[in-house]
């Protein structure tokens, strides 16, 4: 019988923090600036420049640590990790090796197989590197240091995961926690969250871990799942054919569906860490921790429980709404403004999700305000506009947040509540469509739908369909 193998996975997750400035200098972290326009002597590693820690970085790192059950290191410091690579102008990266800011945490994940804890070994603060662009025309590379010095936290898990479902549940959990804290938008595609997968296999029942490899360049949950399956197979094949797994860093090519060993940055992975003498130690007292603790938000699980108790909306809606901090905030703010929860939820579940999908957008990018959504709901509640007009107005609101009341006024989209005008139109429609009238009178219930449609058309869509129906039946 073939041997049974178990996969052992640990993750190193880098998260770009949502600060306005870099970790050690006052340069902007804004994405998309012209190359090297967000640089200074500090983040380009000029001799004599002095890095100073951004307080917000420390606060975010501690907040993430507290939310993941970590012990916060009261006495921490920064170290230099030395290596030569053109994206790293100092020839060292400022990171934390000896005294990382957080240690020994855990998060609970849920998969089809049930609930389990994944341990967090440590979280440390560090700086990002610049970006290398390869010149296709000339035999050289170009460096943009706008990203150099952008703050990162690296979250190192314990090797507690056993399959891709657990890995994805763990990443989702981290993403939700960090998004709720406002510490990062955690977008894998855009690189604000990056996951490196450390994977080894061993025979079921073995005590020792096998030799692991590290997989990089995983830009989506799908790529992560595929890379895990691929690497598991590759390692088992090696072992089955009597070969050994080599400890190395591999790069995943999601188009090819395979990985290859990366040419190492230097043959020797010897970083010669030592304390950074430019940065003084960080000593955290009880007051500081209490302040961060007091600012912790209501996290997703607590929110879901509260929604179940407070609002009469389906569990499915709760799951989707709380799956994005921005959507949950929007939902709650609209309800506070007086809209009925179910109606708010319907707009989010229906039109909003449809448009997000159509435009390939994230819920975090929704731009309309709770005020305007509440106004739109009030307009439909008061039958000032009908549903099809409301959908049209909503689409414009979704594009560019605008006041639906004003818009409906300006464009004259209000439902005509003039019963006289409606009766007159209905009479005309009946006169113009004798066949449908006859059909209806002969018991063809469907024929009335056509007549409602004709009346709505004659009134340029501004009638209340319920009322049209009622008046038509009266006449017939």
């Amino acid at each position: 019988m073939a041997k049974q193998y178990e996969t052992v996975i640990g993750l190193e997750v880098h998260v770009e923090l949502a600060t306005r400035t870099k970790i050690f200098c006052g340069c902007s972290t804004a994405f998309g600036g012209e190359p090297n326009t967000h640089t200074c002597p500090v983040c380009t590693g000029m001799p004599g420049s002095l890095p100073v820690l951004n307080k917000q970085v420390l606060e975010y790192a501690v907040a993430v640590g507290l939310a993941t059950g970590c012990t916060i290191t009261r006495n921490c410091k920064f170290d230099r990790k030395n290596y030569f690579y053109p994206d790293n102008p100092q020839n060292y990266q400022i990171s934390q090796l000896y005294l990382p800011i957080c240690r020994d945490g855990k998060v609970e994940i849920e998969t089809e197989a049930g609930r389990k804890f994944v341990g967090i070994h440590e979280i440390h603060m560090e700086e990002d590197a610049g970006k290398l662009i390869h010149d296709e025309w000339e035999d050289c590379s170009l460096v943009d240091y706008n990203r150099s010095g952008v703050p990162l936290i690296e979250i190192v898990s314990e090797p507690d995961m056993r399959n891709s479902q657990e890995v994805i549940a763990y990443l989702e959990k981290l993403r939700m926690t960090i998004q709720y804290l406002g510490a990062s938008d955690c977008k894998l595609q855009e690189g604000s969250m990056r996951a490196d997968v450390n994977l080894s296999v061993r025979e079921v029942g073995a005590e020792e871990f096998g030799t692991r490899t590290e997989m990089k360049n995983l830009n989506s949950f799908k790529a992560i799942a595929r890379a895990i399956e691929g690497e598991r197979e590759r390692q088992i094949d090696l072992l089955e054919s009597g070969e050994k797994v080599v400890q190395e860093t591999r790069r995943w090519d999601d188009n090819l569906g395979e990985s290859y060993a990366m040419r190492s940055k230097e043959d020797a992975q010897d970083y010669r860490y030592f304390p950074d003498p430019d940065l003084v130690p960080v000593v955290l007292d009880d007051d500081f921790l209490a302040q961060i603790r007091a600012k912790q938000p209501e996290f997703r699980e607590e929110k879901m429980l509260r929604y179940k108790q407070e609002f009469e909306i389906p569990d499915y809606d709760i799951d989707i709404i709380t799956g994005s901090k921005h959507m949950a905030d929007l939902f709650e703010a609209t309800v506070v403004l007086g809209s009925q929860p179910k109606k708010v939820s319907n707009w989010l579940m229906g039109e909003t999700l449809r448009l997000l999908k159509e435009k390939d957008m994230d819920p975090e990018d929704i731009c309309f305000s709770p005020e305007n959504l509440a106004k739109l709901i009030a307009l439909t509640d008061g039958k000032v506009i009908n549903n099809s007009v409301a959908k049209e107005v909503f689409e414009l609101m979704f594009e560019k947040d605008m006041d639906p009341e004003k818009y409906v006024d300006e464009k004259g989209l209000k439902t005509v509540n003039d019963e006289g005008a409606l009766r007159k139109t209905v009479e005309e429609v009946i006169a113009a469509n004798p066949q449908s009238v006859a059909d209806y009178r002969n018991g063809k219930e469907k024929a009335i739908g056509f007549l409602v449609g004709q009346t709505m058309k004659a009134m340029k869509g501004k009638a209340d369909p319920g009322m049209v129906n009622q008046v038509l039946r009266e006449f017939l």
């Binding site: 190359p35 820690l53 053109p86 460096v143 230097e266 003084v280």
Partner: protein
């Protein structure tokens, strides 16, 4: 000299430091490194049991900046440090990931 630096070690340190040393320089560097390590060994004779490791000599802690953008666009100044530039970027030898 108590510490003898091998040829392999000096070769390895040279690679890490990106230094190309001539045979004479290597010999000199081996001697220098050996005497530095001897000096460190001397410090090792002290009894440091119960002494907290120290990473900084100044009694200063918690120096922070607020998260406010204070730097404007200084690309022109920064690029003056580039031996060669193109399209607002530093030109470096072709580098693969």
């Amino acid at each position: 000299m108590a510490n003898i630096i091998s040829d392999e070690t000096i070769e390895y340190v040279g690679i890490l430091a990106k230094l190309e040393l001539s045979p004479e320089e290597k010999e000199q560097a081996k001697k220098d490194m050996g005497s530095m390590l001897d000096y460190i060994d001397k410090l090792g004779e002290l009894d440091t049991g119960g002494v907290e490791p120290m990473s900084h000599v100044f009694p200063v802690k918690n120096v922070f900046r607020e998260d406010i953008v204070t730097n404007g666009d200084m690309r022109e100044e920064i690029l003056k440090n580039a031996p060669e530039e193109k399209d607002g970027m530093f030109v470096v030898p072709r580098t693969f990931e």
